[in-house]
């Protein structure tokens, strides 16, 4: 057992912290209020060479693990950037994995350079209105045609589609009732976001306004055979590869928001004087702050264990899911506590905790709901009957 951070992880923490410190809470509040993509922040991340941290060195990336990626994600969120910062860059930092693991050499050659220099923006397009969490029921269909596929269907909640040139698009290439297992017959395409063939409509939502999430109406979009990721029909497998890593990374976003919230709560509780004493002297105020810290630190241990297992190539489904669950709960508890600690001012944009609260809420729903995490643990880890 060794709880010592490696020097590289320490340096990464300091480096990304300094970068993030240039973007204040006011910057993020403004981007959120105006629903503007945080280009200045994105460009600074690109300029610092932070994209492709987990891409192996033979492909020109940083060759580091999920542990270091976690440090980056948590620091971005903890700087006050929250999910607006994380969602703006995290596909750029980790999103190429399905192509690296399953894609052809040709795909890698064509797209890695622009992925690593930050000019290629990618979306993940899995969720559909009529399938929801039950991914095998997606209906977006890719019809075989000369040299490729013609895709038609609907996707929903697709983040960053307005900025992206490409998306990792999960489609059916064979109907669900014609394949052996429900998850067979799906394919991942690295599809161009061709606005002549795709109508993109942003969804009005509760928070994380700086990064759009959209409905996509796809009508006969042509995707070339050379843009298929992995074997046709193996799409579910391709999508699954990145999931454990993604869970650990979003868990760290939740921890980061929690840290930002706690820092503000501690400051406010020490400064705000009511009834002739700082409110933080009252245990009804102090204990929730201490509890939030305790929950957050405990959740972080599970995140670290999951990352440690992942980086050693060991099975980590249980830990990655538990990490996501615990961190999402701890982050939300901390953000809610910070709003309460600020009293009426917690509801004012000026104090930023309401923004953290809106974003922490998201992580209990997406990218996977808390219920589905518990389903996995209940049935896959503990052997209880399956509901999904």
């Amino acid at each position: 057992m060794d709880f010592e951070w490696s020097p590289v992880a320490e340096d990464i923490r300091q480096g990304i912290r300094k970068l993030c410190a240039q973007f204040s809470d006011e910057y993020w509040e403004e981007k959120d209020r105006n629903s503007e993509f945080p280009w200045e922040f994105y460009d600074a991340v690109v300029a610092g060479g932070w994209l492709g941290v987990t891409v192996p060195t033979e492909f020109g990336g940083g060759g580091l693990g999920i542990l270091e990626a976690s440090v980056i994600e948590q620091e971005i969120a903890a700087s006050g950037a929250g999910m607006n910062g994380c969602s703006a860059v995290h596909i750029g930092i980790f999103g190429f994995d399905p192509i690296l693991k399953h894609g052809s050499d040709d795909l890698k050659e064509r797209f890695l350079p622009s992925f690593l220099d930050g000019s290629l923006h990618i979306s993940f397009a899995v969720t559909e209105p009529d399938a929801g969490t039950d991914t095998s029921r997606i209906s977006t269909f890719a019809r075989k045609t000369e040299g490729g596929y013609l895709v038609s269907g609907k996707k929903v909640w697709i983040s960053k589609a307005l900025e992206s040139q490409r998306m990792l698009l999960l489609v059916r290439t064979a109907p669900r009732d014609e394949v052996a297992r429900p998850t067979d017959g799906m394919t991942v395409l690295f599809a161009p976001i061709d606005r002549d063939r795709i109508d993109i409509r942003p969804i009005a939502k509760l928070g994380r306004h700086a990064v759009d999430s959209n409905e996509l109406f796809i009508d006969d979009l042509f995707v070339s055979d050379s843009d298929v990721v992995g074997a046709p029909g193996d799409g579910f497998k391709v999508i699954l590869t990145g999931l454990n890593a993604e869970r650990v990374i979003v868990a760290n976003a939740a921890l980061g928001i929690g840290r930002a919230a706690i820092a503000r709560a501690v400051r406010y509780a020490s400064e705000r004087v009511v009834f002739n004493r700082p409110i933080g002297q009252n245990q009804a105020v102090q204990h929730p702050i201490a509890e939030a810290q305790t929950r957050l630190d405990a959740a972080e241990l599970m995140c670290l264990k999951a990352a440690w297992l992942f980086d050693r190539g060991q099975p980590c489904g249980k830990e990655a899911n538990m990490a996501k669950y615990l961190a999402a709960e701890a982050g939300f508890f901390a953000a809610d506590m910070a709003v309460q600690t600020h009293g009426g001012y917690g509801y004012a944009r000026e104090y930023h905790v309401e923004r953290y609260f809106r974003e922490a809420r998201l992580l209990r729903i997406a990218p996977i709901s808390q219920e589905m995490v518990l389903n996995y643990i209940g049935s896959r880890v503990m052997g209880l009957p399956r509901s999904y």
Binding site: P7, D11, I12, Q14, G15, G48, W50, G62
Partner: protein, 259 residues
Amino acid sequence: MKIVVCVKQIPDPADPGSLDPDTKTLKRDVKLIIDESDSYGVEMALQLVDAAGGGSVHLVSMVPNREVSGLRTALAMGADSATLISDEALAGSDALTTAKVLARAIERAEPDLVLAATESTDGYTGVVPAQVAELLGLPSVTFAKEVAVSGGTATVRRQTEAGYDLVECPLPALVSVTAGVVEPRYPSFRGIMAAKKKPVDQLGIADLGLEPGQVGWAGGGQEIVDVAAAPARESGEIVTDEGDAHERVVAFLDELKVL
């Protein structure tokens, strides 16, 4: 052009340490980081090498405990190599001893220019740079706001109470820079990864031809006799406005000679 930058590694000022009651010195057994004052010197050195169209930046640091994390930060910013002098015998070294040790290490690097900060954040005696210059027989230019190098000459704008001095001196020279002269870059990811492979030469005092008796508590010419808390600040004068407050405030400031 070869530039040596003195980089002091200090306890994180955000996490103030405590005094060792026996030695009456700051405890340094904690994690040390780069003194922010020195990040200006590192940045200036990198810019000067760029402007000169080539050269190298070498770091020199003395610490009691083999810490290298502050050096790694400066290497990640872009410095090329470093010398770390670490030796148990160095514990308790005073400013002059520190200067003697640094001078020997700097000499080995044969620099064209040596940069240091005006004063460190934790010790702030502000005498080490001038002592190093004296020991090496180099011109010493202090309080530098701007430095330019061309053809064996350094031109320095030095801040004074009244304004600026424009100073020229032949190289090699030692220049100490003030905080805020340049905007220190933050380490990029590439810089951090590259820093892992950059050479850090670890030396003890014997490597510099020094004996234990010449450094540390033994070598220092001084002893810290007592440490006392700074007296609490007296409460200020409260001016209640009776129509003439502005005049009284002006008179007060006049007396302080700040107007």
